[in-house]
Amino acid sequence: MIRRNGAKTWKNIHVTTKLELEDLIDVDNSNAQGHSVSNYEILNQTSDDINSLIKEAKLNNKHIRAIGAAWALSKVQTTENWLINTKLLNKCIEVESDCFHVDYPTDKKPLLVIAQCGVSVAELNVYLELPKSANQIARSLKTTGIGAGQTIVGAVSGNTHGAAVNFGAVPDFVVAIQLCNGTDSPIWIERSDYHVMNQVFVDRVNSKLIQNSDIFNAVLVGFGAFGVITAFAIETEPLYQLTFPKIEEVSQNKLGSLLGSPDFYSGLHHLEFVFNPYEDDSFYLIAGTKVKYETGHPIPAPLWIITNKLGYAPGDWTTKILLKLPFVSGKFKSNVQFKEYLKNAVLSNVRGTSGQLYTATITYLEGYNETAFAVSIDDAITTISILKQITRAMKLPLVIQARVVKPGKATFGFTNLLPKAVVFEFGIVNDSTYPEFEQMLIDQLRNANVKYTLHWSKNSLVSRERLVEMYGQTNVDIWKNSRNTLFNNDTELMRVFNNIHLEEAELDM
């Protein structure tokens, strides 16, 4: 059902975006009859509700944006009119055997799940890893980010990634998309060369089938521009554990030679390194291997918990103030931060399931921004030098984390750099130094001929020139043509989903 909460002042989780909304709208799975209904009826009610809102928005000249957990730090969720909260749409659905396409591999059928848009990664972990029914096998997500609070659609739409060096990022386990965009019926989208569901299923969810790889890959990382995604079909794996040895300190030479040798990382599931940019030759390697699930291992303590046993934690604005303290050098602040980081935020000497290891959920760091960009693994060492140089020149307090990801297929996948992408990321105070730092970084990467892509959910606005520089005109055209096709070239309908982020990148038409 739809509940309209009226005009609201709204902020995202880290308070980097503040909006004056005309209406904050909750959509949930309850129904007016008050009785339980079938899974198909739930999916169909959701798509009817969402499509009716979109049609109303078109009629009234309003913009709509769907939000998940509001963890994105950039302007991707921005709207001034109607914001649709999808977090109450959190069902997971098993697919009946008569619904699979004949081409879909038999061994993958028990591993496929339909996830409604608002289910969080943490909810999915519990649903998959601890099945309630004896008919279901225990399963794991193929990869996730550090945290588990994002919704599945929010995470995919912003290209959330972990450090799955031989798998990819979160969008890479999605195999079908249900999209509502105000056209006649919901749309069920699959790749042209990877058929998952048959017409029986598509009819049950009242949808129109599109099998087109260009469109599928464009919608994956679409940051709400294609409409509201109501569900995904995702592929999982039989439950596994990851084991992490004690983190290892390595020199820059050693790091360079490890990153340059595929033999080193071909057997790994997770590859990451962290460093303090004020230290000359010290890097910490975090490398996790996939192992068979075994009971009897101690449950890992969650990472990134900044609250102590008595409940004490830095206040909402403390981190910002401490990082801006005058008369204390950036180097000193980085040293302190890095020590805490190694204590509280790295996977070291631990074994657990994906749902037990990637849990970071409780963080209230107002005014604190996270920024991230990717380069090819071949450019990782050059990038490290650039980052160190700029951080030192600007005297910034930073801790840098770098995670290695296999390239995927999303048209605007920022982790698509070959042969592997290395995503560098760091927390930075959200003030005027942040865009200055980002611009300096991009200028230096350009000077060094290092190709880069920015994280959609974490960086400042992307202009058209920057977009073309990152993804090439062909991909920009594919993305825009896919959007036009899905909206039947109805510009008024497309306008419903435009926002400042799309306009700046000239992706709005």
Binding site: N90, A122, I299
Partner: protein
């Protein structure tokens, strides 16, 4: 002779009100659920966005203003749990409390509802 600037009472009240209703939180207390089954941390998993209400306590608690939460329910009226809440006091509300010797204690209460069982 020292000169003191004595503001008329209505001005002080207006200044206090502006401070209370406009400025950012000075102190914030968070209360939230943590934990999850077998080490799968489920903290910070709200189903709704922040909703908030200003509240006043008078005469050291002799008169209180309750916050009634109406949005923690689904469209059909069935109720959701509360995932978390926070109590915020800004500079103005702390000052009001001190200047009135605790007779007036304003605060802002915010909450997010939990998700429905999936």
């Amino acid at each position: 002779m020292k000169k003191y600037l004595i503001l008329p009472k209505p001005v002080i009240i207006i200044v206090l009100c502006v401070l209370i209703f406009s400025s950012n939180a000075c102190t914030t207390i968070h209360a939230y659920q943590v934990g999850g089954p077998q080490g799968r941390e489920m903290g910070n998993q709200p189903g709704t966005e922040w909703e908030s209400k200003r509240t006043n306590t008078f005469l050291w608690g002799a008169v209180r203003q309750d916050v009634q939460i109406k949005n923690c329910s689904l469209g059909d009226g069935s109720r959701l749990n509360i995932e978390e809440f926070k109590i915020e006091k800004n500079f103005g509300s702390i000052l009001a409390n001190i200047l009135t010797l605790g007779i007036w204690e304003p605060a802002k209460i915010s909450w997010r509802c939990a998700k429905p069982k999936n």
